[in-house]
Subunit: 141 residues, 2 copies
């Protein structure tokens, strides 16, 4: 392993509320991410449907880390994390989320996860807290 992984932090907005409450459809999202990024699920995913108008949470353990999603039918939104401890090429989250959930807008943030402490890199101090806000000027890859 290279000592660095990647995590995609994805938000989809304007989604169809019924799709966001549909565990089978969310499982298809997991299957697409796993299949197309060449990942390997370990065991069965964990799904929880919150009562009433609440959404769905799903967690899936991977040989390469994990996938997590939370849906908010009341806001028409979905939050997804895909953490992969090996670097992977980009995947078109937006296309999948538009197709499966009718998302009108998708935000994808890519966060490097360094599990090897590289003393040649820029370091944050012990316990330093940084904040990433939507709209901050990050370099676009």
């Amino acid at each position: 392993m290279s000592g660095s992984g990647v995590e995609w932090i994805v938000e989809a907005y304007g989604c169809a509320a019924d799709a966001l409450a549909d565990v089978a459809r969310l499982q298809r999202l997991f299957d697409a991410v796993i299949g197309e990024l060449g990942l390997q699920a370990v065991g069965q995913p964990l799904w929880h449907k919150f009562p009433g108008p609440g959404g769905v949470t799903g967690l899936c353990l991977l040989a390469e880390s994990h996938i997590a999603c939370h849906t908010f039918p009341e806001y028409g939104s979905l939050c997804l994390n895909v953490f992969c401890c090996r670097l992977r090429p980009e995947w078109d989250f937006a296309a999948c989320l538009r197709r499966e959930f009718a998302a009108s807008r998708v935000s994808v943030r890519r966060v490097m996860r360094h599990y090897r402490d590289d003393s040649t890199a820029h370091h944050t101090a012990n316990g330093e807290l940084s904040e990433l806000r939507r709209g901050d000027p990050f370099p676009v890859v």
Copy 2:
């Protein structure tokens, strides 16, 4: 709910390798996060110990979203995600990780998760990809 949650993305380095392979100790980390941030676990956490020198992955579904951790004993490191769909005050991840895992350095990044699409905020474009790198100049909270 306010329409925004928060996710802490935490890396701990220089940890004791045996502590990183100790599921009971990792469960104590989850318990501390859950207890001290006033969160509520839904069901049992999912733990997986990878064979040989491999680390441990843990996932825990919360009423407020999820916690995930991955340990890398071969690198002396631990990667933690705590996603909470309601805003919470900061918690001293560094102190806990130093105490329980003998971490010599802890990096904490705080990522806003907007599940309400706020059209008054700065928007990223559809499918836009942003990258957060260690050492980028983020505002310190």
